[in-house]
């Protein structure tokens, strides 16, 4: 039942130190000049941030797929990531992106999306209505983001925003870790609390309620959990798609397939995936470093297609 957890922890324990050494310049802790500073101030916070962001996205994806009873669901469906992105873009547009301001704007955007979701869906909304509300918010936030970009005063500002939206972990430091780690941990804890309710939903909404699940409480746990994990992820790393979709899929066969028992393994596997992808971005011999968000989408889109084709074969 918990078989994949030790395995993933071991992989993560191996990958984390290796990732510290990997990069355009390979660091040898004993011979590279200033190795201690490079490791402590640049590579360690970046690696930890990859773990935090990936862990949050993986856990959120597992919970979303459980909630929507659909293996193709993604945390982006709630409109929380687009909301956070809108907040960040506004802070860049207004020139208020220094220090903690950009992440705080992004968190405010995520909170706004969560609030709107709660307002539209109301107390007794079923899952279908709730998802539609999320999609409305996602498309609204997307439109407003494009509008904000069109208002950018010059090409530099536009490019700054667009590059930020691609998602990356370059030039991040300890303050970003200090912001994202506690929020993401709290979010994952909330998602774990929703585990039994998600297990019950395996049997459909009515059966879940008959098993004592309070739908309003489950929905609130999920919105808060996804909001904290995805919101803080976007706040420190920009938009990174497909992790929440791919990871639960890859991990599910290793578990007993109960949605509740998938959350922690997905968090660990998400951390591993983003950590490895970020290293790959650093190592690829390109003129400029490949943005992490783009890299994961380049892996994610074909993966998504593969899933769709597989599902089509199975339903025919």
């Amino acid at each position: 039942m918990t078989r994949p957890i030790p395995l993933l922890l071991l992989a993560l324990a191996l990958a984390l130190p290796l990732s510290l050494l990997a990069g355009r310049v390979w660091v040898d802790p004993w011979t590279t000049p200033n190795a201690a500073i490079i490791l402590a101030q640049l590579r360690l916070p970046r690696a930890l941030l990859a773990v935090v962001v990936g862990g949050g996205l993986g856990a959120a994806g597992a919970a979303m797929q459980g909630y929507l009873r659909n293996p193709l669901a993604d945390p982006g469906l709630f409109g929380i990531a687009p909301g956070a992105a809108l907040g960040a873009v506004l802070s860049l547009l207004l020139g208020l992106a220094g220090g903690w301001l950009l992440p705080l704007f992004a968190l405010a955007g995520a909170a706004g999306a969560m609030l709107l979701l709660a307002l539209i869906a109301g107390r007794a909304a079923g899952i279908a209505l709730f998802t539609l509300a999320g999609m409305i918010i996602a498309s609204l936030a997307g439109a407003l983001t494009s509008f904000a970009i069109s208002l950018a005063p010059n090409a530099f500002a536009t490019s700054e925003i667009v590059v930020w939206l691609m998602g990356a972990l370059t030039d991040r430091g300890w303050p970003d870790v200090a912001l994202a780690a506690p929020l993401t941990s709290a979010g994952i804890a909330l998602l774990c609390l929703s585990g039994r309710g998600l297990d019950a939903l395996t049997l459909g909404e009515a059966a879940a309620r008959s098993l004592g699940v309070a739908p309003g409480r489950l929905q609130a746990l999920l919105v808060a959990g996804v909001g904290l994990t995805v919101g803080s992820g976007v706040a420190v790393a920009g938009v990174i798609g497909f992790v929440g979709l791919m990871v639960p899929h890859l991990v599910r066969p290793l578990t007993d397939r109960r949605p509740g028992s998938l959350i922690i393994p997905s968090a660990l596997a998400g951390a591993l995936l983003v950590l490895i992808a970020d290293c790959a971005c650093r190592l690829l011999p390109l003129v400029t470093e490949l943005r992490l968000g783009i890299a994961l989408s380049l892996i994610g889109a074909p993966f998504f297609l593969h899933l769709l084709l597989k599902m089509r074969r199975e339903t025919v």
Binding site: R69, T202, L203, A206, S210, L211, V213, A214, R257
Partner: protein
Amino acid sequence: MLEARGISLAGRLAGVSALLRAGEVTAICGPNGAGKSTLLQCLAGLLMPQSGAAMLDGANLASLQPRARARAIGYLPQEGEIAWDLSVRNLIALGRLPYRDWGEAQVNAAIEALDLESFSTRPVSTLSGGEKARALLARVLAGEPRWILADEPLAALDLGHQLALVGHLREAARNGAGVVLVLHDLALAMNHADRVLVLDNGELAADAPPEVALDPELIEQVWGVSARWLGERGARALVAG
């Protein structure tokens, strides 16, 4: 004791009252849209009536904690959805969710009661329709509810599996549970229920033993079909015309 006390829901049920007894198999019958599933969901505490109440042992279901209600009343929906490809044992263990434990003993008992021993480690996607129906009923039994409410549990099954599942439900009633089934098939209700509630357009048209409730005269009045019963008691068949 599970009781419908003047349950009304706009356009669906109009003042339905009935007293259900533990140890009995009660069938809810009626034409399409008569309110059978609605009544069952009210009795399961999943739908709140606009007026009237569903009462469990004298307490309003609406005032019970969801978990306490879930321990007393097991509900088997019509769709039989299983979203993830769990093993049969893990599926059945979901019935323990209202409790804090995974109830190894109760899960084993439910597996045994429905002859699922040889399937318990198999993924549910490999089960046939009849095996899946048994596994879903075992899920309800694993929670050891005092009431088993099932919406058309026999509709998708062939004759052999219908009789087997009815046998299991009868066994649960003999062990003291109250069993309430929405049934479309009047012959199944006639042959296997202790009592039949007939709903007509949201109102209770009959509440009696099957021989009385499913009298040809009432069938004509409610279903608009003239029909008669053939065969012996316990093995009757309904023929139209």
